[in-house]
């Protein structure tokens, strides 16, 4: 048997049939569903008189539209409310498990999948959401799909797919303290560009990746879509198995033994061939801050806003000029001189317990700077929130002047009431700094949780290591 990549193995195990041109029917093990991209899919089933092929494989949760403040009065916005209620009706009609808004397990779909053991190594995992790549951290083949495909999976348990090319992102060396998975992700995107991974599945490997916790690997895989790769993945190791063990939906007893034995093979074989290899030394990395309106517009925190005039490619230079205008920034400005109005710690990229611990460690005993109008922490799930409260992190944040909210997507995309006002500048732990992403006219700088916390207490971007040392 020739050496195979992890992607090859996952792909092969799920092919139901293949057309002569290589188009395959791929079997889907886990289908995660949220309220924004599913209504039209259920409606399509209804119109065609179709049923759901295997309802037991789907797990639904409302996350994008839910309020992060007191939920006892429901959702104020009638349009948001209708969408969440539509999901409830649909899951009831089609017999799908849902963690409703009042369920303590509710949270961002990509946080609760792994947290519940609903996503497991070796699975194919899909969701009508581009950040489904997150689940690849467990050694799964996980990728985002559109609503027509959501309907297709509901009706057939399969997707029509063609095999991607595979890119290896090899990150060696030892990551310096306070440089996190988020910084690795941003540095990779900065190096290869937001279209660098297009047409590829991206596997992360190397000493720095092995050293990451499974949660850190989720952050990294989460951002692979920002590098253009539909799927990100990390091979299974001891950490993966330990992470999954004992989770509510994880297998138990004899099934667990059997599963663990099979998962042992979920890594790329030595000598496996990749279509592209990108290497990075983690030892060289600094905390990263984005300065533009695309995640590839990123620099180390010690850096400066670049000058479009120095860019030789005219299309790129124009993109940079536009971005700087939108962001209200001058070329040459030191990133550390940029003041922030709001700070958002949350999203499926960085709202798990380790993220909150890292941010709290920076915040502890300090106060949010007076020029920061709002600093908020939005835990990724009800269980993350509960855990953080058990550790007293909520008090650390509250005493520093942060708001401590209910779980959901929140200001990652501002579909609920949490958003930036035009011109407001935000240090955000989310994944996209597109124009208007966090609110029309809002200006987003992507950073790690520790860097966001540092910006909150300093009032401007600052190398978290300067704060951490004192």
């Amino acid at each position: 048997m020739p050496a195979q990549t992890l992607y090859d193995k996952l792909w092969e195990a799920h092919v139901v049939r293949e057309e002569p041109d290589g188009t395959a029917l791929l079997y889907i093990d886990r289908h995660l569903v949220h309220e924004v991209t599913s209504p039209q899919a259920f409606e399509g089933l209804r119109l065609a008189g179709r049923r759901v092929w295997r309802p037991a494989t789907a797990l639904a949760v409302p996350d994008h539209n839910v309020p992060t403040t007191d939920r006892s009065r429901g959702i104020a916005d009638p349009v948001s409310r209708e969408q969440v209620e539509t999901l409830e009706r649909n899951v009831r009609e089609f017999g799908i498990t849902e963690f409703g808004m009042e369920d303590p397990r509710q949270g961002i779909v990509h946080v609760i999948g792994p947290e519940q053991g609903a996503t497991l190594p070796g699975m194919t995992v899909v969701c009508g959401d581009s950040h489904t790549s997150t689940h690849g951290a467990l050694g799964a083949l996980a990728f985002g799909i559109g609503t027509s495909e959501v309907e297709h999976v509901l009706a057939t348990q399969c997707l029509v797919q063609k095999k991607s090319r595979v890119m290896l992102v090899q990150v060696d060396g030892e990551t310096p303290p306070w440089v996190t998975a988020k910084d690795i992700a941003l540095a990779v995107i900065g190096a290869i560009g937001t279209a660098g991974g297009t047409g590829h599945a991206m596997e992360f490997a190397g000493a720095a990746i092995r050293a990451l916790s499974v949660e850190g690997r989720m952050t990294l895989c989460n951002m692979s879509i920002e590098a253009g790769a539909r799927a990100g993945m990390v091979g299974v190791d001891e950490k993966t198995i330990e992470y999954v063990r004992g989770r509510p939906f994880a297998p138990r007893g004899r099934l667990w033994e059997q599963a663990v034995a099979a998962w042992g093979d979920l890594h790329s074989d030595a000598g496996a061939r990749f279509d592209r290899v990108v290497c990075l030394d983690a030892g060289d990395l600094e905390p990263q801050v984005t300065w533009g309106t695309s995640p590839e517009m990123v620099a180390p925190v010690s850096g400066r806003v670049p000058d479009p005039e120095a860019e030789s490619d005219e299309v790129r230079a124009r993109g940079m000029r536009r971005a700087l205008e939108y962001m209200g920034l001058e070329p040459g400005t030191a990133l550390a001189d940029i003041a922030v109005d709001k700070v958002f710690i949350g999203s499926c990229t960085n709202s798990r317990i380790e993220d909150l611990r890292a941010a709290a460690a920076v915040v502890r005993g300090r106060r949010v700077a007076p020029n920061v109008r709002l600093a908020m922490v939005v835990p990724g799930s009800g269980l993350v929130k509960r855990q953080a409260e058990a550790e007293g992190l909520d008090r650390v944040f509250r005493e520093a002047g942060f708001e401590w909210r209910e779980p959901g997507c929140s200001m990652c995309l501002a579909m609920n009431a949490d958003r930036l006002e035009p011109g407001e500048r935000c240090a955000s732990t989310s994944n996209r700094n597109f124009e208007g992403r966090q609110g029309q006219g809002g200006r987003t700088h992507l950073v790690s949780p520790a860097m966001a916390a540092a910006a909150a207490v300093a009032g401007h971007f600052v190398d978290v290591r300067e704060l951490a040392e004192v």
Partner: protein, 221 residues
């Protein structure tokens, strides 16, 4: 799905790389539970000067005269000429629905983001990949001549320019076939229901833990 065979239409140039689906259709419109009605909000933040919300009368909003779609010479365009990495970001199929609802049938670009590319085919929107130099040339031609129209022929896999040039493009045979016929993917897949069941039986033996029922697990098995 609407089949696509051959289409001739006015071309509108959108000269920026990395146009993301948040820009194509901003999030506030994703609250709709329907597939139609997104056209007036295509590129909403760029197209209007005032902030838009669902339920507004968009015909009465202030248009941004500088935005290319609003320029009189490009009104009624059905072919969008774009730059690299068009449709990146969120998986929202609403982006494709908005383009279609506005009247766009073809997007031509040097490259597309994967999910957007996929979503296009499910709705009868044809994404055409041409080399960056060719796209560059088309941008210049569109700018130089008012009323610039292209013909896109899926059968022959060619874009025909007014100068009579024929630009060949690649497309996967299976996708092309389905789009030409306007075939329903789900109906096609369900023709293979027996194979799906056979796969499930085999897989259940190999990896039985994948067949635990979430509902049963919920209720304590």
């Amino acid at each position: 799905m609407q089949p696509f065979t051959r289409h001739t239409g006015l071309v509108v140039p959108l000269d920026r790389p990395n146009v993301d689906t948040d820009a194509i259709i901003p999030k506030q419109y994703l609250k709709s539970v329907r597939r139609t009605g997104f056209g007036p909000n295509l590129f909403d933040d760029w197209r209007y000067l005032d902030p838009g919300e669902p339920g507004m009368d968009h015909g009465r909003r202030r248009e941004n005269p500088d935005f290319v779609l609003n320029q009189p010479r490009y009104r009624g365009a059905t072919i969008l000429l774009a730059r690299d990495n068009f449709g990146c970001g969120s998986s929202r199929e609403h982006a494709v629905w908005a383009l279609m609802d506005y009247g766009i049938r073809v997007v031509i670009a040097p490259s597309f983001a994967d999910i957007f590319y996929n979503n296009s085919f499910k709705n009868g929107l044809l994404p055409v990949v041409l080399p960056a130099e060719t796209v560059d040339r088309l941008f210049r031609a569109v700018g130089a001549r008012e009323g610039y129209r292209l013909t896109v022929d899926l059968e022959r896999q060619e874009v025909e320019t007014p100068e009579g040039e024929r630009l060949a493009f690649e497309i996967e045979p299976f996708r092309r076939h389905r789009l030409l016929q306007g075939l329903d993917d789900i109906a096609l897949t369900l023709q293979h229901a027996d194979e799906i069941r056979a796969y499930e039986r085999r897989r259940m033996r190999e990896a039985p833990w994948l067949f635990q029922d979430l509902l049963a697990a919920e209720t304590g098995r």
